[in-house]
Symmetry: C2
Subunit: 519 residues, 2 copies
């Protein structure tokens, strides 16, 4: 999941549920799905292959390729039709870490916890030397370091000390929080009083410009290794990218995102007049043989003469960040969606409409896999020129908020879907899934569908320790998966897909978005 955890607008207002005929629920089929999903689950096995066996799944990395190939083969093994990798467009370079070692050697030996920033180069063998504290907030202040950084290990002063956790890392939604979500009004336009004002934007732009200058300065001066402070504590390191994945990207210096404790220790020593020496050996590999991005796609074909050209889609992104195995972001969602497909196949369900799964790539860089797929199949969100398939896709369901069980659905402003989903959630009250909120949630792939007028939904999920520990961190590993929660989610998704595929009508749509004015 990209950027924000939740973008939800918690204003008290009711969801209007029109007094229509009760939406039908197939109780016998729900029971079958529950039996398969809760008592014969394969979701943890699937998660094992996506995480432990495949490894980190950064966009276009070998780890992502392994997971994609495994998923295609597994979908075939389960009997899905048209299982394949489908190119969505040009992404850029793959990248992976092949050696990662760094340690303080003076004033004493201490191996540090640090992760190369994504798409940064390595150190070209072992680098050793004093750490230099670089103090500069402007291009002018950088000048004093000209000619002094070649081969050096560089650290910056920072005003961000290590924080201590006085709150629990992991939590579930309380009944009160869910009730608040259910009362939310449709999302207000995003730009409002809380958005950055002109002065803040100017500061931000200045900072960004200086960062670009600094980055170029470090390259020009041939700095040997740059240390930057990672978010996170207690050995948890949140990671980011340190350079563009584009094949035309500018060179950058090697950069290690360093645990706050190790970073602050080095900084305190240097500021206290104590020399620090470091040794490091970082090797990273760029993969440039195929710059295309791919999504995993597979289907259970529809069987109803009139409806089989219509489609229900489910998905989640399969790519992750590089410091761990992206268990909660988003092997969890991928495994749940794969499991939902498996459940429907295992109970030998022959849907009226076609059911399609897609596991996206390059979500972390900007929802690229789903955007590319939507552009290729459904239309252009800028011009709102739509393709025929757009009219045939009933709904897209996404999962990408971690390992937490499903507590309900973000209606994404589609109030006409409320009575339908209300009925479909009814059989899962005992599993804690009860809440509909008219709110939007952002940051992941349902937005790509919503942008071209297709009903696209993300489920409400318990956060567990997604925001505090796992989201983009070196701790996003299989250990953080909650088995019962993933089983519950797969069961509910399978039931939603079942009902969507059999429903007399497609899921009702919001008004079409307007074309975006040319800039």
């Amino acid at each position: 999941m990209k950027l924000k955890l939740l973008f939800s607008c918690l204003i008290t207002a009711g969801i209007a549920v029109p007094a229509l005929a009760q939406e039908p629920v197939d109780a016998a089929m729900v029971q079958k799905i529950r039996e398969e999903g809760l008592s014969h689950s394969k979701v943890m096995e699937t998660a094992f292959y996506l995480t432990d066996v495949s490894g980190p799944r950064l966009a276009n990395s070998p780890g992502l390729k392994r997971a994609q190939n495994w998923a295609v083969n597994q979908l075939k093994t389960w009997g899905m039709a048209n299982a394949k990798l489908e190119a969505w467009g040009k992404f850029g370079k793959g990248w992976e870490v092949q050696k990662n070692y760094a340690a303080i050697t003076v004033p004493y030996y201490h191996a540090i916890i640090a992760i190369p920033k994504a798409w940064t180069p390595g150190t070209n063998g072992v680098i050793k030397g004093e750490v230099m504290l670089l103090k500069a907030d402007s291009a002018a202040e950088l000048e004093q370091y000209k000619g002094k950084l070649a081969g050096k290990i560089v650290i910056f002063d920072t005003k961000a000390p290590t924080e201590r956790t006085w709150k629990a890392d992991a939590a579930r939604y309380t009944d009160e929080e869910l009730a608040e979500m259910a009362k939310a009004a449709p999302a207000a336009p995003r730009r409002n009083a809380a958005d950055p004002n002109a002065a803040q934007m100017a500061t931000f732009r200045k900072l960004r410009a200086f960062r670009a200058t600094l980055s170029q300065f470090l390259v020009d001066e041939k700095a040997g290794l740059v240390l930057s402070q990672a978010r996170g504590t207690d050995g948890t390191v949140f990671t980011t990218n340190g350079a563009s994945y584009a094949d035309t990207a500018k060179a950058v210096a090697p950069e290690l995102e360093t645990s706050s404790e190790d970073y602050q220790r080095i900084l305190r020593l240097l500021k206290g007049g104590q020399p620090v020496q470091l040794e490091a050996d970082i090797k990273t590999q760029f993969i440039t043989d195929d710059l295309q991005g791919y999504d995993v796609v597979a289907e259970i074909p529809g069987t109803d003469k009139k409806l089989k050209d219509q489609v229900v889609m489910i998905g989640g992104h399969l790519d992750s960040w590089h410091a761990a195995t992206g268990a909660t972001d988003n092997a969890a969602g991928s495994a749940v969606m794969l499991e939902a497909m498996r459940i429907l196949k295992a109970i030998n369900f022959k849907p009226k409409r076609t059911i399609r799964i897609a596991l996206w790539s390059s979500e972390e860089q900007g929802l690229f896999g789903s955007r590319g797929y939507v552009a290729n199949h459904f239309g252009d969100p800028k011009t709102m020129e739509l393709k025929p398939e757009q009219a045939k896709l009933s709904a897209y369901y996404n999962l990408d908020n971690g390992t937490g069980k499903i507590r309900g659905v973000y209606l994404q402003g589609d109030s006409a879907a409320a009575p339908i989903f209300k009925a479909w959630l009814e059989p899962f009250k005992d599993l804690g899934a009860t809440t509909l909120t008219i709110s939007n949630t952002g940051g992941t792939d349902h937005l790509s569908f919503d942008a071209v007028g297709i009903p696209g939904f993300q489920f409400i999920q318990d956060a567990i320790d997604y925001g505090t520990r796992t989201h983009h961190s070196n701790q996003d590993t299989y250990d953080r998966l909650v088995e019962d929660d993933l089983k519950q989610a797969a069961t509910i998704v399978a039931s939603f897909v079942y009902h969507t595929s059999q429903r007399a009508e497609m899921i009702p749509r919001k008004a079409l978005p307007k074309p975006q004015p040319a800039r």
Copy 2:
């Protein structure tokens, strides 16, 4: 601090406070001490030198030597008398880590978080190879591995998965908890219904015997590297020793205490039929040139003709575990005690009784530094043969429960001290120090004094994240120190020391312990 965090008996009963004349409190001096301790503190600077600058302070390691030498010099600089290292007896070998690198290389590259167990040897250069899963619960089951382990990397099956934290790491005592402590009855004899029964002891002995057999087997078979699972999550690794520090200790195999996440990943892969290869380069150094253990000692000499031969002692252990810089265990207590001395000197206090600080070593291996000192100066707790100095030591105050501020005092069963300490705590109500509990607390150096009939006290401290994150872990760094709490503690200790040194009488004593029967 060794072993248990707290051994306190929370039974509801009152501390009898006899209706004696009010214990005098010197309000003007308390105000001076508060001013110096709260507004002119050097405690964080002291902590910086003990942690960041000195490094890990395992018993007899170079890091401990650095900290000891710094402390002696600093005490001299502050004008203390008789500042020195004092040998307490034979300890054993020093040890430190000089290289620590380990990474999974197959099925993909991933550097792991792992710490060499204390006093284990290194790998003698880079070791690479498949990880072997060794399954054996008995000497007989080990036989199958005979001739197969030479140079191999070995892992064991374990039933301890990674745990997730649903509770906050850090907390302070609540008023209710403190009230419960205040109501505690004198400690019951330690062996009671909750202690292990004969069957549990038999199981434990069997397990210990197998571990010894296994350890010898791994050495005999020349295993290249052993992985064991560390306690802790999220990148936090709690460390232990893997071999004896004795100069006569048996050889052991190199052993890495591995973060639960990395350990479980390797284990899941192997159990899932996926080969795992590792590369590691571990170098450790034994220091055998001086097997003696030393304590740091310094004094502010008494000035009263009749009382200057009497002594008030304060202390805490300076040694730590090796994976971090032992900030909360126990640079915190050491820095507070050093700061208390500094405060008293800074306000130019000339005590009636002599004030002495001692910073112990080898506490983590069994309170050896304080036990040795007590044996050399005060008496033998086994025979209860006492030396003359025993009668001259009024009280010993210890600090070793992390960075948390002082909330009161464990009276260690010395009810006659209650009215005295009650009066001395009175000026610190506003700083949260109010509670007296008749309870014992164990695990640290005041026990060595208590064992020979000298009033020995440990302060009640807020736990913060001592038990959950820092105590013996790789995360016990300067970052975890709470500045305001350390200032508060140093101020209160200085005031207690002041009043103890000036009091008309020494602190009242409990009945002398009985000699321990020969075994």
